[in-house]
């Protein structure tokens, strides 16, 4: 067990290194304290989407058989989105059955970042969000309100 643990740690360390060395606009992640198996990350809403200007805190929990199994990734900051439920659970295929060990923290966070702007409204966890997605003005209004409730930060709807 300890041997596999050390290989997991090694891989996570190399991911951390790559993340620190390379430029990753709008995303960041770092282990919680000494525990390499729990990370905290942030995702900023991409420019040009309704999420622009918002920042979401994420939690990443890595199983001991990582990278053969995907990490559990959740929104810690409540996120109003068709594919995110109130507990922060994300519905994204590459976090489940489409997972491949070539993905890493960085690619996952970037995937989630682009999921924000391009939800899959066919299988929503938040049906209300999915139903108003087409009406972007209304969506933004609700989103800004929910974001304010979650973080206390006000974002202009203009």
């Amino acid at each position: 067990m300890s041997k596999t643990d050390s290989s997991v740690t090694k891989r996570l360390q190399s991911e951390l290194m790559a993340l620190m060395m390379a430029s990753s606009p709008g995303i960041s992640a770092f282990p919680d304290g000494d525990n390499m198996f729990n990370w905290t990350g942030t995702i900023q809403g991409a420019a040009g989407t309704v999420y622009e200007g918002m920042e979401f805190k994420m939690s990443l929990k890595f199983p001991t058989d990582y990278p053969f199994k995907p990490p559990t990734v959740k929104f810690e900051t409540s996120c109003f989105h068709p594919n995110v439920d109130p507990q922060g659970t994300i519905c994204l295929d590459i976090l489940k059955e489409k997972w491949s060990p070539i993905y890493n923290v960085r690619t996952l966070l970037l995937s989630i970042q682009s999921l924000l702007g391009e939800p899959n409204n066919d299988s929503p966890l938040n049906t209300y969000a999915a139903s108003i997605w087409e009406n972007q003005e209304e969506y933004k209004k609700v989103l800004v309100k929910k974001y304010h409730e979650a973080t206390g930060i006000t974002i202009s709807t203009a």
Partner: protein
């Protein structure tokens, strides 16, 4: 909460902005991939074509210039242009040509898939245990243990041998074609039935190619023995009976053909 978030972000984004060091590499490329991959996966499509595409470009670029990536930062999440992608990939290649696609470390006991992707033997073996659909992690092409090609470098014994005892020996090179049978036995048992059938059939074919008339009989003989063994192992009689019947029929047909040929030869 928000403060927390801010701090956290600043902490990590500062080095990011500064660094355009040599290691910009993998992750940038992966990000690009994923950006695009994700777009498709949102729509429940397979991410594979994107990745494949990238891989093709990577494999074509072998030479590198390290100064080309500096403009990568600017284009954040908007559609990455292919040129730029190539640049980052070139860099990636220069540094990580021989890293395993799973552990992101230098490969130990390297094996390559038919689709050309490099892995540690232990890594790809474990992945095939986890992945029911038996796909290449990189391009999702089908991967089977038998079709992996081990790579033997000069003095390659220096690298760490089998770390994990539960992982069987790396399969032999293609010319030998013999299945690894030492530690694998427990893994192959579940499909013993199928494997045996194949083997005997295989044997059947090769013999009949060699000897002409007799093979049908001999093949039949072996076949029945095997099937009997199987019967005693798992009480699943039916398919074996039908297999028996088929082989019997086949051997009779062969026998008849043989006699006809013999007859013609004699007549002539």
């Amino acid at each position: 909460m928000s403060d927390d978030v801010e701090n956290n972000h600043e902490q990590n984004s500062v080095p990011n902005d500064q660094s355009l060091n040599t290691t910009d590499d993998i992750s940038t490329v992966r990000r690009r991939n994923l950006n695009r991959v994700n777009e498709s996966s949102d729509k429940n499509e397979q991410p594979q074509p994107m990745i494949e595409e990238i891989d093709e470009t990577t494999s074509t670029t072998t030479t590198t210039s390290t100064t080309t990536t500096n403009n990568n930062n600017n284009n954040k999440n908007t559609n990455p242009e292919t040129k730029e992608q190539e640049n980052t990939e070139e860099e990636k290649e220069s540094n990580n040509q021989f890293e395993c696609n799973i552990c992101f470390d230098d490969v130990s006991e390297p094996v390559v898939t038919q689709c050309g992707h490099l892995f540690c033997w232990s890594c790809i073996f474990q992945w095939l245990q986890y992945n029911a659909s038996q796909q290449c992690p990189v391009c999702k092409a089908p991967v089977t243990e038998e079709k992996l090609i081990p790579i033997y470098g000069r003095g390659s014994n220096a690298t760490d041998p089998r770390k994990n005892r539960s992982i069987p020996q790396r399969p032999p090179g293609r010319p030998e074609q013999v299945r690894p049978n030492q530690n694998n036995s427990n893994r192959t048992y579940p499909d013993v039935f199928g494997a045996n059938q194949w083997n005997t059939q295989f044997g059947n074919v090769s013999i009949s190619a060699g000897f002409g008339l007799f093979p049908g009989l001999f093949g039949l003989h072996f076949y029945q023995q095997n099937n009997n063994n199987n019967n005693s192992i798992n009480n699943n009689g039916r398919p074996q009976n039908s297999a028996d019947f088929e082989s019997l029929l086949l051997s009779r047909i062969f026998f008849a053909i043989g006699i006809i040929i013999l007859f013609f030869i004699l007549v002539n």
